[in-house]
Symmetry: C2
Subunit: 478 residues, 2 copies
Amino acid sequence: MSQPKPSLSKPTPLSGFPELLPAERFVELQVIEQLRTTFELHGFAPIETRAAEPLDQLLRKGEIDKEVYLLRRLQADSEDSGEAGPGADANTLGLHFDLTVPFARYVLENAGKLDFPFRRYQIQKVWRGERPQEGRYREFTQADIDVVAKDALPFHHDVEVARVMAEALSCLSFLPPLRLQINNRKLIEGFYRGLGAPDPAPVMRVIDKIDKVPPAVIATMLVEEAGLDDEQAQLCLRLAEIQAQDTSFVERVQALGVSHELLSEGLAELAAVIDGCASVSTDRLVVEADLRIARGLDYYTGTVFETRMSGYESLGSVCSGGRYDSLASDGRTTYPGVGISLGVTRLLMPLFGRKKLTANRSVPSAVLIALPDEHSRVRCDAIAQELRRRGIATEVAPTPQKFGKQIRFAERRGIPFVWFPAQPELQDDALGAPTGERADEPQDEVKDIRSGEQVPADAATWTPPLEDLRPQILTSGD
Amino acid sequence: MSQPKPSLSKPTPLSGFPELLPAERFVELQVIEQLRTTFELHGFAPIETRAAEPLDQLLRKGEIDKEVYLLRRLQADSEDSGEAGPGADANTLGLHFDLTVPFARYVLENAGKLDFPFRRYQIQKVWRGERPQEGRYREFTQADIDVVAKDALPFHHDVEVARVMAEALSCLSFLPPLRLQINNRKLIEGFYRGLGAPDPAPVMRVIDKIDKVPPAVIATMLVEEAGLDDEQAQLCLRLAEIQAQDTSFVERVQALGVSHELLSEGLAELAAVIDGCASVSTDRLVVEADLRIARGLDYYTGTVFETRMSGYESLGSVCSGGRYDSLASDGRTTYPGVGISLGVTRLLMPLFGRKKLTANRSVPSAVLIALPDEHSRVRCDAIAQELRRRGIATEVAPTPQKFGKQIRFAERRGIPFVWFPAQPELQDDALGAPTGERADEPQDEVKDIRSGEQVPADAATWTPPLEDLRPQILTSGD
């Protein structure tokens, strides 16, 4: 029978396409499970969209064209050649680079079958062809929540998505402290208009650079690029300095002496979001108004969110979003939405990379059944099956090595318990003296290989401590 | 502020890229959860591989090149142009078309960090550019389990993967009955050699067509294409007719009077797998020896698996796999493996398409908190939060419509319970007479909108029946 061609020498990783070892994947899966649980408790329904979208849909926003991965079939026919010639965009497919564009398309495509307001969560891979660096990947997982409505979406949903994501993040207790920073586009646009800026858009673009550029340079840019005078520029800088974990920011903004209808509206909205999140805010997850946040070129029209991870500020925002007055539109109906997107990979990979985060075992198994000899396999399988029936992940040793070797087999994988099936030989084994009172009838025994404690056990009733049932997340400090 | 360009009219689905409505996605997620649970109970560790592999890796097997989707960055530079010119294959990326090729690469790449034998499961999307039809998609989800070892992999792992997948399938009790059909390449190769076939490979290729071509034609093909005489051809057909849910097939094969060392080995292995699965086999999941199964051009070297879904035979096999003596090799070390791959999308989409399978609600919420007026939102949120704290998915009505409308809101989504916060107005509401004994203090009430039963309730203690906690899978018969 023919065999595959002999494979190459050891393959090397692809830059920008991170992969995890099993222990790390346990952490990622627990994060995803925790996120799902929180989202579902709040009534968010799961959807998943296909990985590919027509190129013309992907390029609707126009700015990120260089990041798209196009698809082409190796033996392409004319129907879907993947060539990006003029007019071919509707037939050319590209991989989605976020979950918002596909969600907007999904809403339009299924509008007749969905009930609005529609709350959804979506946890999926996305792809961007940009230069890889820490915190920037070519393939990565996002976890998005959005609420979308037909025609009008009440403001309280802005509060809701902030609170739900804050609650989800606060459940991820093994992460470094996070700051969920909230602002409002109406507030800043109203402020810029109120102080007489000729156009608020360039002001916002300059202020968006405030984390990378010194204030004096920002002030000059505001004069040169946004047409402000020095005093206006200083007011913009003072606005951007305002941060507060309560609604005290309202008075501080008002004290700057600028007034505009849109500013008042934005202040009231931002105060409502900050108030609404007060009960979720903790030391580990601070929710605060931060009037620097602008979300650059994204088309938000009200609330905007960013999130920084303490000690990992260079990653930029790990969780961002905001309100769109028109998330989608089919010409007749407009669908406003508000949402927030968590960069799961961006959050976790730097922690994995610095060995700050892993799991305490590389297999799900809580128990290894030691195999005395190959003839005992059926009996060992039966013990394992009895434990599994009660939800205890169990594997049987692959070969009947000496028990010492089988214990080391468990140790290497982090399996906490080794189970010794009853047998006469056991009492002569090198494992040491029999433990405790032993009945005449030989009994199974189970050993906690961390403490060395070994006790008689019955597969029908023995249960490990709850914390040993599944792999546990381990963190290491600085 | 600028807005996105007005979007197009209603988008249409992409053929071959199936997407689910939320109720269907609940079903898929429960299937995936159930699979994960079974796999982990048996000690299989989760991994996920990147979606993209170098083209030369994807084409190693040679047969399925036309199905690969190549990736190309829209603004490609020379480093990863995605052009499939000569010698470019190592830099060209394509989407993986199965989970076996990436797993083999992952094993080689991480061999130093993995413990062998390595049991892994992997549930992920894969992509194939083939013509879409029912059961054949361009994007679909596979759930694979494999055990891989260094140098040698004991045979009992063949029994293990069959049993684990059989157990996983038997947990999916809402599926039509399934038949897991098992054969062994050594058995059929030994049989063909034993009866004097000049080359077993063409015999296997012809026998692989047995479901599509009448026996008389197969017999002719065996003579013309595989160089057999009529008697040999008849023996091959008689072998292929043998099916058994126990090890009685051994005697039936022996009765054909062919003998060969490889045949005996194959018979013993197949008997061991069938024996090992006897405890898992039920009416709904039959495990049987089926001596037609050959797995065509795949490079299996022992046990082979296929699975048919009753009433959906035209889908072909929904769950397939087998033993590879060389799953991967880096020239120095060979990694034998045995695995089986379930087509999650292939299993579910035809059932969704024929309205045989869905969930009983489109949202996770078990409870809708009715909103008497906008001022009550804070109080309603507090009730919802109290329920969520105890694991009860809850949403608050988006607008203070009349209660009748709010009940219909819940009904449309399949939310079973509507919660009415205590308030004086409730007693005058059109919902009917107050139920039961009412204390002087107004109390919250909860209504099961299916039965109409409404009872006083306390958010700190009330719990819905277990079956209402999460969306339930609904099946409809023929």
